[in-house]
Symmetry: C2
């Protein structure tokens, strides 16, 4: 919901160029809230209001707009003003933004930036998306190990306004090699002790990320070790930058959303659902739909193969959708539970026997219960009570097979080094569909002779 | 994978009671890594190694074991030792742990704790699970607004060892009402300015959580405003505690995992997949499976209703699974995309028209493509080319309806104030199944006369 509370006032202030009121508006609230109140303005109005904020405040407010707004402003507003803004945006965010701009706009903006900033942006852009290097910021508190706590605080005071985060200090030697880290908390606890140096306080066993490391592996480390930030180093242990906790939350969200999409047989979107091109979206969905379609075609051939049985016992046809959907639903429940449990680290490859034995119990319980309902219905429809037993017997077998496929396939996929979420629910369902029909007709043959 | 590198050495040290080596082992590495190397020990060995660490270090190492290990140690080791450990565990974590212990063990441990700690635990336990109160810690840096930066740093130095996080300082008045916050970064930048007080530096427009607020709403605020911690207040604006970023990552992970489970029609597990009781698990799955089963029963009645048509045109039966699975798969793709986009904030209720118009295009593209394949197959199976057109016409209509149901139902559910993920894929598929059969037979009637 767009917050429209201040819109009339803001527009009036702009119309009458009420400079002091607009300045006041930009500082009175916290920047996130200021951005919220501006959301209803159009791009041009937003941009004009932003010009009344100090450059660092302006960048902060700007960071709370959604990406589409940010990009459309950066692409259309005067390059001189956008360059000033870009300079103030934290490094890790501005590189992401620049990746989203048309290349002419990027060239124009880069030309207007100081050489050092330009080089910095170029370097960060060179890391592949999805790696630690692409997530990091180089604005990091680096200090020498011979400083005392008080000296370090003074130095930090000088650097603090340029840094995104100062919750850890990174101790480096003269060659910029990472030697250890000191948390601000340790530093603050040590200010009474005049002679203790960073070298004496620092933790030397530091959890680090390599620049080329996959972002999911980085997020896992940050979560496991409860870090606020993780240092990024190159293969020679040179400190390149840090990745901060807010980027890690984004990675976790992205990773789990992609899982959910893969589970539903959509290739991960890598973009905003409402922004992504329709042809790209159709392709990402169509690929899997087509594969599943061919799997489903097999059911058509299976049914054709059993043509004679179905002609004699016409009532069997009525239960086909019921049977395959029961198998498919229970299978996709199992697959989703195993996939989410593996992503969350609850289930490991070695747990397969335990998972299977538990699943056998659950599937028999579920299948047994559905069989009872199915039998009650079938009695009224089938020509005899004996004939009606085909339905519960099939349901029990289909739910059992569906559940076991559902838990086994994702674990097998993971063991093969593939993404278990690729073993999507519809895929499991596709396999269970065919199994279901084969089981159904063979049970019917057995019972009905 | 359990790290077994140090296991023989550790066991030897325990056997020969090599005190200094064990002490050294507990401090040499960072606590997370120490925990990793201990994972292969059994509970008793682990506990004995832990006794060689200083109490605060012991609690830190302990925090990296998985919850099942933590609980089994706390429940079985001597109560006096567990009470010492519990005292050192951060408040928000220890309350969670205590909730998992048998109530006799809890009573025994609580009796051994100092009265203030006991009261604190009792108070935190009184907040319902899933609320801000249950996530918070009361170990928070509270300072008066008249302190200068240097005085505040001194005070913080005294408090720091007891606090979980000092990345924001909370400024309160004499009645413990929250007046504002100062980040450590602002504080450190201000140490050169001797006279500036916290009251002058503080941000007064603070993003807060109410103690009873739902944890997902808290996580959303923390993500939106990029916070490291959020203060929790009561309705009178008294500062109760803070929620730290690591708990927020857990909430995001929990929320998205529950979404994925709901999408697959499983009531959220609220527990470890391998630990949860089989009856509970069967109930959580069986509830939805049964509902879906009744939905699928309707398809049986629909098919029975069309008995005569199916008897005359037997080949129509072969395509039943293909048609309903095409509708179901495309519908569950749409539903998953919309649900994940709503969870991620990309799609709002007001976006329905835009979502629908995009979906119309995508569904016609997808349906059209599948129709072509379907037609190619049907030509070989159907008695005539005219008859074969039943298949592509039905596929197009079914995919179209499946996609539109898939995007509309979750948005409608959200508008009704319900969880859109409840409008699970199998539910969408269930509706699309019946629609599919009705469409199929009616198209067939129209074409075949």
């Amino acid at each position: 919901m767009v917050n429209t509370l201040f819109l009339p006032e803001l527009r009036e202030m702009l119309a009458f160029e009420q400079e002091s009121e607009l300045r006041e508006f930009c500082v009175a609230l916290n920047p996130g809230r200021t951005a919220e109140f501006m959301e209803g303005l159009d791009d041009d109005e937003m941009w004009r209001v932003l010009q009344f904020a100090e450059p660092d405040r302006r960048a902060e407010i700007f960071s709370y707009f959604d990406e589409a707004r940010q990009l459309s402003m950066l692409a259309s507003e005067p390059a001189a003003e956008t360059a000033v803004l870009i300079e103030e945006i934290p490094e890790d965010d501005r590189v992401d933004l620049i990746q989203g701009l048309p290349s002419e706009a990027v060239d124009e903006i880069l030309k207007l930036l100081p050489a050092s900033e330009r080089r910095n942006i170029e370097r960060l852009r060179s890391y592949a998306e999805g790696t630690a290097g692409a997530l990091m910021t180089t604005e990091v508190a680096k200090l020498g190990e011979r400083l005392t706590a008080v000296e370090a605080l003074d130095e930090l005071g000088r650097q603090a306004s340029d840094l995104e985060t100062i919750y850890y200090l990174y101790v480096v030697d003269d060659n910029n090699l990472l030697r250890g880290i000191v948390s601000t908390r340790q530093l603050v606890s040590s200010i009474k002790n005049k002679s203790r140096t960073l070298g004496e306080m620092m933790e030397t066993d530091v959890v680090v990320a390599l620049a080329g490391e996959d972002q999911e592996s980085v997020a896992e480390k940050v979560e496991r070790f409860n870090l606020l930030a993780i240092p990024v180093i190159d293969s020679g242990r040179q400190l390149l930058g840090i990745i901060t906790h807010d980027d890690v939350i984004d990675v976790v969200r992205e990773e789990l959303t992609e899982d959910a999409q893969r589970i539903a047989a959509v290739a991960p979107l890598e973009g905003d659902f409402l922004q992504i091109g329709l042809m790209v979206l159709s392709y990402k969905r169509g690929l899997w739909l087509t594969i599943l379609f061919f799997a489903a075609l097999l059911t058509a051939f299976a049914l054709r193969h059993y043509e004679d049985e179905l002609a004699v016992h016409g009532w069997l046809v009525w239960f086909i959708p019921l049977i395959i959907s029961s198998g498919g639903n229970s299978g996709s429940q199992s697959a989703t539970l195993v996939i989410t449990a593996m992503t969350g680290g609850e289930v490991k490859l070695t747990d397969l026997p335990k998972v299977l034995s538990r699943e056998v119990c659950v599937s028999l319980l579920l299948g047994g219960f559905l069989s009872l309902i199915g039998f009650a219905v079938a009695i009224f429809v089938a020509p005899s009570i004996l004939a009606a037993t085909v339905i519960p017997a099939t349901l029990l077998a289909v739910v059992f097979c569906g559940c076991l496929c559902g838990v086994t396939l994702p674990i097998m996929f993971k063991r093969l080094g593939l993404d278990p979420a690729l073993m999507s629910n519809p895929f499991v369902a596709g396999i269970v569909d065919i199994l279901g029909i084969v089981i159904y007709i063979n049970v019917a043959r057995l019972v009905l002779g």
